[in-house]
Assembly symmetry: C2
Homo-oligomer: 366 residues x 2
């Protein structure tokens, strides 16, 4: 058999295996040199196709005579944007883009517009390592996982490191902060620039009652139970395990907790109710906590100021949760609990949370 025939046979196999559609290839997304982006999708029979992009309004796409819908954005700030195509009411990932944003409820694709020097851009600095651990939770009864970032040089040395527990949001899985948040890249860069202390970052699965993750309406009572139960999982399962497995400095001055959205609420519940364990508490766009503050934080008063090195409450000003976050801050102020209020531009998006991490990490363990 000639080489050409072998190549064809091989291609045939790959083609059958990969189920490549017969139509000519589509390029999507196409990032242009001026930071505009063209998105394309072949959907010859669809009636309405919209682009749904993280942090922007839904935009109508236009169909050409070959059945390819497209939309070109205005120039975008360098960042990583999640997006999906809404085809006749159904949100679909971009079939021509391998960059995926994992999520338990809404899959989406992602487009990266590079911006050298930005916190989440991989650069020529020493890189830490991301460890993926698996265990069976005695409390919840499921097989679950957590991720641990160790900074560059961890394996060579013998020093102990401070630790940040970093919590994802509702419908994320344990990979959220590394796969979508690029927490490891952000830490690599900040540590290389000596802006942040070398630290270990623990990224657990953030559900105490995983059945809360379901399509349709969220049951807010289950949501609250989930948050409270998660605190128990973190304190009695994850924390003892990682403190055994890693060289972690166990002093409370060396322990921080922060998270986004649901994980923000979990950070507040776990951190503020366990000030014997945590000195740094951060919430990014916290959601789902509720307002029964006396029930949620029964012992919280200004005596917390002696123990808290940082209480950092951040939210985007275009986030639907900005109101409840301001209300939470009002409660803290009324109790004379000191905190750092952070309001940034932005909605309920990973663009805000990556910046939140890049901003808070330099404040920890200093």
């Amino acid at each position: 058999m000639s080489f050409m025939n072998r190549a064809v046979l091989f291609l045939l196999t790959v083609t059958v295996f990969a189920q490549t559609p017969p139509a000519p290839p589509i390029v999507s997304p196409e990032v242009h040199s001026d930071n505009t982006v063209t998105f394309r999708l072949r959907a010859p029979n669809a009636a309405v196709v919209n682009l749904s992009m993280e942090g922007t309004k839904s935009a109508p796409m236009q169909k050409d005579d070959k059945g390819v819908w497209s939309y070109t954005t205005s120039a975008l700030d360098p960042d990583i944007y999640g997006y999906s195509f809404n085809v006749d009411g159904v949100g679909l990932m971009d079939p021509n883009n391998s960059l995926m944003k994992p999520n338990l409820l809404s899959n989406s694709s992602a487009v990266h517009i590079p911006g050298p020097g930005l916190a989440w851009e991989t650069s020529d600095v020493p890189h830490g390592e991301v460890h993926h651990h698996f265990y069976k939770s005695a409390l919840v009864g499921d097989h679950r996982d957590y991720y641990v970032y160790t900074p560059p040089g961890y394996t060579e040395g013998s020093t102990k490191y401070p630790v940040l527990y970093l919590l994802h949001g509702y419908s994320d899985d344990a990979s959220g902060w590394s796969a979508v948040g690029h927490a490891n890249v952000i830490l690599d860069n900040l540590i290389a620039e000596k802006k942040a202390k070398p630290m270990i970052v623990v990224m657990p699965l953030g559900y105490g009652a995983p059945e809360v993750v379901a399509r349709g309406r969220i049951d807010m009572e289950k949501f609250r139970v989930n948050i409270v139960k998660f605190r128990e999982v973190l304190l009695t399962e994850v924390m003892p395990q990682v403190e055994k497995e890693y060289r972690i400095d166990r002093r409370r001055e060396m322990r921080a907790i922060a998270g986004l959205s649901m994980g923000g609420a979990e950070s507040l519940i776990t951190g503020l109710n366990n000030l014997d364990k945590f000195s740094y508490v951060g919430s990014f766009s916290a959601g789902g906590l509720g307002e029964d503050y006396d029930v949620l934080f029964p012992k919280l008063d200004q005596s917390a100021n002696k123990q808290l090195k940082l209480l950092w409450i951040a939210c985007g000003t275009e986030d639907g949760l900005i109101g409840t976050n301001r209300k939470f801050r009002d409660m803290l102020a009324a109790k004379y609990v000191r905190f750092t209020p952070i309001e940034t531009p932005g909605m309920h998006t990973w663009m805000v949370w990556r910046r939140n991490l890049a901003t808070i990490a330099p404040l920890l363990f200093q």
Copy 2:
């Protein structure tokens, strides 16, 4: 604001953020108790929708009066099957399923039909850890990654372990063997049953010339250059790094290399041309090697039998590459090089390769 209003506000935010389509939720895939599976997709205006499932023929889906296409399979063997929907010629992931199969060229979803006791099923045994490493390749010039599995108990002990270099196929990324192949779960189970020796498994990015990964026709000359260059990356970058980072037994009797499809070809090229380093060589459905055997393996002759503890050549009988694999075996036989020929049912699929790994791992380092 009442709790209910807060819940609504929260839901609103989550809904905007998640871009949930307004239509009622669809359940897909639905695995029934008899191991039949129903797949569903809302696509009211599509003309033709087919289900493309790994290892099976394309199947036409039927539309109901609400615009929902569905297809129910016959009873399937417990396994993990990749699939996508082909909508008017375009392969799409299932928007209602968060189980994704990462791939650089063809995204797909996956459905898991549990089968207790199967090699890739997570079970109540001690679990190893999967480490994710990042580095800049001096040879290739890109930022890249590799994964390392360490067996249960690795962190506690001080013994050295044998090592298996396990290579993915064309269009996979470095996560292929862990995310899709469940290599860590397979090893956990085999080690717990004392069927396999505790070992370290290194899963590198398998491209020496990453530009070979492109949509459309594969350039076979680039493909070959990629394989040869990968050997250099493995031997001069990945291997020295992991042998420094991990307690790896560096004797050649303790080193194996195996891989699937392109990775099978890479295992043969790297293993058989470096018998001073490898004692065990495995190829699963090898592809893209070519037939210039004298050029590819200039020194290979029966003297290899003294060094090879195992040369394991596997392929599915329904794989388009079975012919070239038999031809390769004929070459080995003609040179009196001993090998183990393995033909199993199956096509060019992960179902075959997970079983290949579960079969070869117990043969290593014994």
